[in-house]
């Protein structure tokens, strides 16, 4: 994904959702034009991925902090507010139920939390069934961290007998028939080894001495979370009532998951009924799903100041109602009372209301203002780089820019340089095995450039000014960046004199010629007797010479090469980073 937005998206993959316009129309309750929708959806925070006018479908990306957008029903809630067809928080009725889940404290050893809910009178069409599958997958990913944090089980309520018991047992102490591998009774340990889902998610239970399990009153296995359900509660076309269990390691996340799932099913026409969860350890009973709105009290001035507008109380309340929050003037002076629906997982701080208010107001309605202040400065190292570039191109050298990631064999062996793995940056997990370290010299990159361009017209004179990375365990992050300059000349008559003239031209232009000395040295990369050590104020900063024919041949090249490489940090007298 080479998106401009990749920067702040921080490498986060955005989930996508396909929307049939017809279904949206039915849910919104008004005629929608696909072109208008394309325009409108961006203002509620949905990113258009593609539009199919023939099939009348739109594919959108939604942000991972809005898992309530994982279904058309969820999107329509907000869209209705945008169109001002419904304002304020949607209401959901939860009928009190009597079903109980008892929680055995032993689950603290493996997967401490469970909540549940009952959904009655379901009557789903094909699209809705697909949505239900899709939403589970998205929730497992977005809130569940691939089932580690949250796992969902959906069951046929009428096939099991309450109360249920959430407990944990030894991996081989119980056998049951699991979905998708129905012919055999397997122990939990066997499921992890043989069942496709078991193999996929076994890592979540690695090293645990007991595994979580849900039994019904008759000790029948309802589910082996977070792996697989028992065959007993399989949902079929005839299923009328559902029991949903959500288990996990994060109490907040499992509740959010249940809330999103049950409100979406309610939007599909089903009825929600609560379940009692008894935590036997401390005698605490909780009733879920808890769809009560969550109340926040936020300062109006804070919101106006943050956005840079001056909305009246009425205007502000309307903005919140449009994003489907309830809002009312507060008893507290200067404040507004806001109630957030239980499916909104992304409200953590008063600042989150700033964005909601701005979305309700419409980003497109916001003015643009400018502020004065500050005098800018360039970084001295970039200035040095640019000065050196000017000098180098004046001497007819063409600039190249190479990657910093590289391959140790090419970077060292090809150059006849010795290297010890432990003295260099090592990447733990590269996707392409070619990239296992970062460069410590620019010269190997220039050699690769010559190879790539070896049939181009000669002479080829190229240079690079760039950073290299040295391992340095004395620093905060264990490495040190240095700024290098390297240049090569490649043609029939390349020789030491030519590259020495270039060095002189450079140091004279920089005004440091009298501080530079070149003394004989040896280096396997270069030809014995035609290589010198460059020093600046008697400190060694680089090397200059004719490249060893073996190295030339390693890169499949066919003319002599003269080269120089030096650390130019020192010219500024301080460490880059």
């Amino acid at each position: 994904m080479v998106k401009g937005g990749i920067l702040l998206k921080g490498g986060i993959k955005m989930p996508t959702l396909e929307l049939k316009v017809e279904r949206l129309e039915r849910l919104v309750g008004k005629k929608l034009n696909i072109k208008d929708l394309e325009y409108d959806l961006q203002w509620i925070g949905l990113d258009l991925e593609s539009i199919d006018e023939k099939e009348n479908k739109i594919k959108v990306e939604y942000s991972p902090n809005r898992p309530d957008f994982s279904s058309p029903e969820g999107i329509v809630r907000t869209l209705k507010g945008y169109y001002e067809l419904e304002l304020g928080a949607p209401t959901y009725k939860v009928n009190p139920g009597s079903l109980e889940i008892n929680v055995d404290p032993i689950v603290n050893k493996v997967r401490p939390y469970i909540v549940g809910g009952i959904i009655r009178d379901i009557d789903l069409d094909e699209d809705e069934v697909a949505t239900l599958m899709n939403i589970q997958e998205d929730l497992h990913w977005a809130l569940g961290r691939d089932r580690k944090k949250v796992a969902i089980g959906v069951h046929d309520l009428d096939k099991i007998v309450p109360p249920y018991l959430y407990t944990a047992i030894k991996p081989d102490s119980c056998k049951f028939r699991a979905l998708q591998l129905e012919r055999f009774e397997l122990t939990l340990a066997e499921i992890l080894e043989e069942h496709p889902k078991g193999i996929k998610y076994a890592h979540i239970l690695e090293g645990k001495e007991v595994f979580p399990i849900i039994f019904d009153k008759n000790k029948e296995v309802i589910s082996f979370p977070p792996i697989i359900n028992g065959i007993l509660t399989m949902v079929t076309d005839d299923t009328k009532n559902l029991f949903i269990d959500i288990t996990g390691t994060d109490f907040r996340a499992i509740n959010y998951t249940l809330n999103i799932l049950s409100t979406t099913l309610a939007d599909m026409g089903a009825k929600i009924e609560s379940v009692k969860v008894n935590y036997n350890e401390d005698g605490r009973q909780i009733i879920t799903p808890d769809l009560n709105l969550i109340k926040w009290i936020v300062s109006k001035k804070y919101i106006n100041d943050y956005i840079g507008v001056n909305l009246s109380e009425t205007e502000m309340i309307k903005c919140f109602q449009k994003v489907r929050f309830n809002a009312k003037p507060s008893k507290e002076k200067g404040m507004v009372d806001i109630w957030v629906p239980a499916y909104r997982v992304d409200i953590m701080h008063a600042v989150d209301f700033v964005e909601e208010c701005a979305i309700g107001y419409g980003y497109f309605n916001l003015p643009t203002t400018t502020r004065e202040g500050c005098i800018g400065e360039f970084h001295p190292f970039q200035e040095l780089c640019n000065l050196i570039r000017k000098i180098m191109i004046g001497a007819q050298n063409l600039e190249v820019v190479n990657f910093m990631l590289t391959n140790s064999e090419r970077h060292y062996n090809f150059m006849k340089r010795e290297y010890v793995l432990k003295d260099h940056i090592q990447i733990l997990n590269p996707k392409s095995k070619e990239l296992d370290t970062t460069r410590t010299q620019l010269l190997p990159g220039l050699m690769e450039n010559l190879l790539y361009n070896r049939s181009e017209e000669k002479p080829i004179k190229i240079f690079e000014v760039g950073e290299i990375i040295e391992l340095d365990l004395s620093t905060e992050t264990g490495a040190r960046q240095e700024l290098h300059l390297a240049a090569v000349t490649y043609h029939e008559n390349s020789n030491f004199t030519e590259i020495r003239s270039l060095l002189d031209h450079l140091t004279i232009s920089l005004g440091i010629n009298e501080k530079i000395k070149v003394m004989p040295t040896t280096s396997p990369t270069y030809i014995e007797g035609r290589v010198g050590k460059i020093s600046y104020n008697s400190e060694s900063i680089g090397i200059i010479g004719e490249i060893n024919p073996e190295v030339i041949l390693n890169f499949n090249l066919e003319f002599p090469i003269a080269a120089l490489e030096m650390d130019i940090n020192k010219f500024l007298g301080k460490q880059l980073i």
């Binding site: 080479v2 090592q426 880059l576």
Partner: protein, 511 residues
């Protein structure tokens, strides 16, 4: 006949008669040590006398592609497999294992297997229940194709018009596997007309004409009497291969100037970065998918970084666990020091801007502060025409009292206008460390469409409070990728071109 020619034209005519073939103009100029312009001007004289002239010819040169060069070094896929088997003395192996051991793509692997079977070097069988490969030959001589491929070591390219029949066939096979790339070149060929070929040069009278003014002529005054030969001014000169700035550096410098003109100061930060600054200090929970191995380069060496001053680390820890002192509810989990100490190649320059917030705190600075960075970031990706594992990010932040979302919109409008995009849209978006967040779409005149070109927002209080930056002081931030902009500006379609340094492009690029 009374034909008169200048001395040098006569010389060139003699040479061409001796050669009796068409000559490449730049080769000939080099051979005669003549200025290209002088040579072409002489040819022009021959043309006028109907004795010769030049024609342009378009040549197809055939080179190996990167993949081709790779095979030149490592051997064709089938050879790589055979080498592996022979080297490790393997007589039989399952196809899946062999596939794992090879570094080949699916396509080249299975084609190689097919070829090896056709050569009767291996056999495959499912007899044992598993799909297996058996080595059946003892000797694996180089194939015709391999022999041909080797010739590229000595000779970097073939001229398409000069291929033998066999070579055409072999080139065709290589081309099908995308191992050959073509490059067109223009060649100027100098020729003689039939008259030019048979004319007796001894009978040609020499026209006294001077091609250049010498120092003596200037001093002696002779320049007033000489007959100075006219030049054909319409012919282009030969190409100069001058030094040039790399296109990416050029665009980076343009953007740096924009930032400077808007009062921003340039900053740099470490590429080898702690997970603490890359993720934790930006309020990304430790189990966040963006932190996983498949997206981020973690380092094996160095393995651990040092965390900053204890009280600041505790402040960041508290925001994750319970919101700390910033009014947030936090993520509600146990924050781990060890995960924060891991070392990564920075995945965004926001790690560097976050370090600037830390500096703001340590040096007890007063707002406003406006800084920018244009620097390298890394993502664990496989390279292809639209993905790089390292690329440049452009990022700016403003730390100021009472700055607003409207100020941010104003800032973006100005920045993108200076970048050449007078029409922009800012719409709601999401980033883990900004709230409100927005995304910028610009209208490209060149493509006639809207492009996503950057993300932006105000840093969350959870990010700024640990560094003492508290309401009403806020931090505006925005950023975008450089390469996409460069591809748009320079009309490149393969993102890798920006770092491959093809001299053809670098020498002729228009900035």
């Amino acid at each position: 006949m009374g034909i008169k020619l200048k001395q040098n034209v006569l010389e060139i005519l003699k040479i061409l008669q001796e050669k009796d073939i068409e000559c490449d103009a730049s080769e000939l100029a080099k051979e005669l040590k003549l200025d290209y312009i002088v040579l072409m001007s002489a040819v022009n004289d021959l043309d006028k006398g109907n004795l010769g002239g030049f024609k342009e010819k378009y040549l197809d040169y055939l080179y190996l592609t990167d993949e081709g060069l790779n095979y030149l070094k490592k051997g064709l896929p089938s050879r790589q497999l055979i080498n592996y088997l022979v080297k490790n003395k393997i007589k039989e192996i399952s196809i899946a294992d062999l596939k794992d051991k090879s570094e080949l793509t699916d396509k080249s692997f299975y084609r190689a297997i097919q070829n090896l079977r056709r050569n009767k070097w291996i056999a495959t069988s499912k007899a044992t229940g598993e799909n297996k490969v058996f080595l059946v030959a003892d000797d694996f001589p180089n194939t015709e194709l391999e022999v041909f491929l080797k010739t590229f070591e000595k000779k970097p390219f073939y001229d398409k018009s000069k291929l033998s029949k066999e070579e055409v066939g072999l080139i065709e096979i290589l081309n099908k596997r995308n191992l050959i790339r073509r490059e067109k070149r223009t060649q100027r060929l100098i020729f003689l007309t039939p008259e030019g070929k048979k004319i007796d040069v001894r009978k040609i009278e020499i026209l006294k004409e001077v091609s250049k003014i010498t120092s003596e002529m200037l001093i002696s005054g002779e320049w007033k009497t000489i007959n100075l030969k006219p030049f054909n001014v319409s012919i282009s000169g030969p190409r100069i291969h001058a030094g040039k700035i790399h296109p990416l550096i050029n665009i980076i410098n343009e953007i740096r100037e924009i930032f400077l003109s808007m009062g921003f100061t340039e900053i740099k930060g470490p590429i080898v970065e702690s997970a603490f600054f890359n993720f934790d200090a930006l309020f990304q929970p430790q189990d966040h998918p963006a932190r996983e191995m498949q997206d981020t380069f973690y380092l094996n060496n160095p393995k651990q970084s040092k965390l900053p001053e204890r009280e600041r680390v505790e402040a960041v820890k508290a925001t994750h666990e319970n919101g700390g002192d910033c009014g947030s509810i936090g993520w509600g989990y146990d924050w781990s020091y060890d995960i924060a100490k891991k070392v990564v190649l920075r995945t965004h320059t926001t790690a560097t801007t976050c370090r600037r917030l830390a500096q703001f705190y340590r040096e007890n600075e007063k707002p406003p502060v406006k800084v920018f960075s244009i620097d390298k970031v890394f993502r664990n990706e496989r390279l292809d025409h639209s993905h790089l594992a390292e690329f440049m990010q452009i990022e700016g932040i403003v730390i100021d009292e009472n700055v607003t979302l409207c100020d941010l919109r104003g800032l973006l409008t100005e920045f993108y206008r200076k970048m050449g995009f007078p029409k922009i849209i800012t719409r709601p978006s999401f980033f883990p460390y900004t709230e409100p967040s927005l995304e910028i779409a610009v209208h490209s005149e060149k493509l006639g469409e809207w492009l996503e070109l950057g993300g932006s927002g105000i840093f969350r209080p959870e990010v700024t409070y640990p560094w003492g930056i508290k309401d009403p002081t806020r931090v505006l931030a925005w950023g975008l990728g450089l390469e996409r902009l460069a591809m748009l500006k320079y009309g490149r379609e393969d993102i890798r071109d920006l770092y491959r340094n093809p001299l053809k492009w670098l020498r002729e690029v228009s900035y």
